[in-house]
């Protein structure tokens, strides 16, 4: 009666569920819980022609673009949240090597909600009069059948795979995720495959003690990966703070293709496991990023 375990290595998960040409949604919590470890594995496996889907992607998308994995981006914002523009992205778009579908956060959210709800589009009021309609064929103007008013219709996005970093998951894909949730729930429901990378793998008892905190039903999850520090340098509620310096340093480390090549060698090519990555970060940095002030949620009783 126990279903099969979905626990596997990051290598296997990316190899199995992110073939070249896939539409991949990542960074669905916006600034938190960004699945950097999974993104770096995609780079190590030299995936190409991927379409990246996201809201504000922070630097993960820039890294994948710089590594040559990406053919197209469907997102609201691509850059480095704390420093502004990101260089690989600029170089690729300005050089004509990267197709861009320009969204706003609301249109991405609605596109994924349409995908999650199984409808071909969702209506919105945003962007009317803007030029997003010129650089995004997923947007059309429609007339409301009830009010006669002009609305923005956002075409559904159903990604091939959602890559989600969560705090804790059981081996069957039932994962607890907390903090700001971004577009994570809809991204999971809209996607064909779901890869969960988690700070901790826990027993089903832990997850079942709080079913409201489960981000998406485990029966739809394809792979579960144990990836401690797998969202660094982005923050993970309950585990570690944002490593601002990493984002600030990345700015100069990606200024030229040469510098980015070196950055990849240092931070991606030679990293085989989470341990390698944590070793590279170093004790001092790890300690500095860990939570200093704890606040545990008041229990909820799910008894009968």
């Amino acid at each position: 009666m126990a279903p099969a375990s979905k626990l596997m290595s990051l290598f296997e998960a990316i190899k199995l569920y992110v073939p070249d040409g896939s539409e991949v949604v990542m960074g669905t919590s916006l600034e938190t819980l960004i699945p950097f470890a999974a993104g770096h594995e995609i780079i190590r496996q030299k995936k190409h022609d991927l379409t990246l889907i996201g809201t504000i992607s922070d630097i993960l998308f820039d890294q994948l673009v710089g590594a040559g994995c990406v053919g197209k981006i469907r997102a609201a914002w691509v850059g480095n949240v704390i420093t502004g523009s990101s260089y690989n992205f600029r170089r690729s778009v300005e050089g004509g090597d990267l197709k861009m579908e320009d969204h706003s956060n609301l249109t991405v959210a609605m596109a994924l909600k349409a995908g999650a709800m199984g409808v071909p589009f969702m209506p919105a009021l945003t962007g009317l009069g803007s030029d997003l309609f010129k650089t995004n064929t997923s947007l059309k103007k429609i007339t409301c059948p009830f009010t006669g008013k002009t609305l923005t219709a956002v075409s559904a996005i159903n990604p091939d795979v959602a890559i989600i970093h969560a705090q804790r998951s059981d081996e069957y894909g039932n994962a607890h995720l907390w903090g700001n949730l971004g577009v994570t729930s809809d991204a999971c429901l809209a996607s064909r495959y779901i890869i969960i990378t988690a700070e901790e793998i826990v027993s089903p008892d832990v997850i079942e003690s709080d079913p409201n905190r489960v981000i998406t039903p485990g029966f739809r999850v394809s792979a579960v990966v144990h990836a401690p520090w797998g969202a660094h340098p982005s923050p993970v509620p309950g585990y570690y703070n944002r490593d601002h310096n990493a984002f600030i340093e990345y700015r100069s480390n990606s200024k030229t293709p040469q510098k980015f090549e070196k950055w990849m060698r240092d931070w991606i090519d030679d990293i085989k496991t989470s341990d390698d990555y944590i070793r590279l970060l170093g004790n001092e940095r790890v300690e500095k990023l860990k939570l200093k002030n704890h606040l545990l949620s008041e229990p909820a009783d799910y008894g009968y």
Binding site: W77, V81, N105, D131, L132, K141, V183, H244, N293
Partner: protein, 258 residues
């Protein structure tokens, strides 16, 4: 810019000016970077009952317990009033709950249209900017929004290359014609002064200049003949108290350093 002669930086002046645009009790959709500080400053000074909404899916009505650099910093989640989906807070924006929001821009035109997507040169992309993020949504759906940016001739242009975030389009009636439900830019706070919009013509109007800045300097650094309010004011300098708070919020001066 001759701000050295003042005991505050230009960024501090801009953040203070932004903060003063927030009235007490207002529901504020808080954007990245400078606006993040502007909201917190307002909260801690004249607008203690303001509520902050963040696109990540955060609602909070108290400042974070520690200085933050980005809205996703864990202290900004600590004891938040609500942690939820982006679509939930975007719903609050779209259904008319948000009084005011702040957005930055690379390029703005005389009608307050904002471009953070593409800088073009004779039909070719010369610079790809990060894009809308939530800016287009805030400019489309908040009851009013305030633009905060650096005042340079190539940034304040007659017509933006690409409308990422709609202002008043080509003038009166354009937002209504386009189907936008409400709103529009109420002020532009630059490194040189504060502009508002003519209530009839919907065109930008210089209403206040920062200390040490001349009208001529502003006109020379604006891409069109900028109209000037008859009762032109001087932007009030930050108070000691505002600066004190601001420096607690940004102790290393990451956002507000000179």
């Amino acid at each position: 810019m001759a701000t050295d002669s003042y005991h505050y930086t230009l960024s501090e002046l801009m953040v203070v000016a932004a903060a003063r645009q927030i009235a007490d009790g207002e529901i504020v959709f808080v954007g990245m970077r400078l606006p993040l500080l502007g909201f917190l400053l307002a909260k801690l000074t004249h607008a203690p009952n303001a509520v902050g909404i963040y696109e990540l899916g955060i609602v909070r009505d108290t400042p974070a317990p520690e200085p933050i650099l980005t809205m996703g910093d864990l202290p900004n989640l600590f004891r938040a009033k609500w942690l939820s989906d982006t679509s939930d807070v975007m719903g609050l924006l779209q259904n008319g709950t948000i009084d005011v929001s702040f957005i930055g821009g690379a390029q703005v035109d005389r009608f307050g249209n904002l471009n953070t997507s593409y800088i073009m040169n004779s039909g070719k992309i010369t610079t790809r900017l990060p894009g809308s993020g939530g800016a287009c949504d805030l400019a489309s759906l908040a009851k009013r929004h305030i633009i905060v940016m650096s005042h340079e001739k190539h940034r304040l242009v007659p017509k933006v290359d690409y409308i990422t975030s709609p202002g008043y389009g080509d003038g009166p009636g354009w937002r209504e014609k386009s189907g936008l439900p409400r709103g529009g830019p109420s002020a532009v706070i630059t490194s040189c002064g504060i502009m508002k919009f003519d209530s009839v013509l919907k065109e930008m109007l210089l209403v206040s200049i920062h200390p040490g800045v001349t009208v001529r300097h502003i006109l020379e650094n604006t891409g069109w003949p900028l109209k000037i309010e008859d009762s032109l004011e001087k932007t009030p300098v930050p108070t000691e108290y505002e600066l004190e708070i601001l420096r607690e919020l940004d102790p290393e001066g990451y956002w507000t350093g000179s």
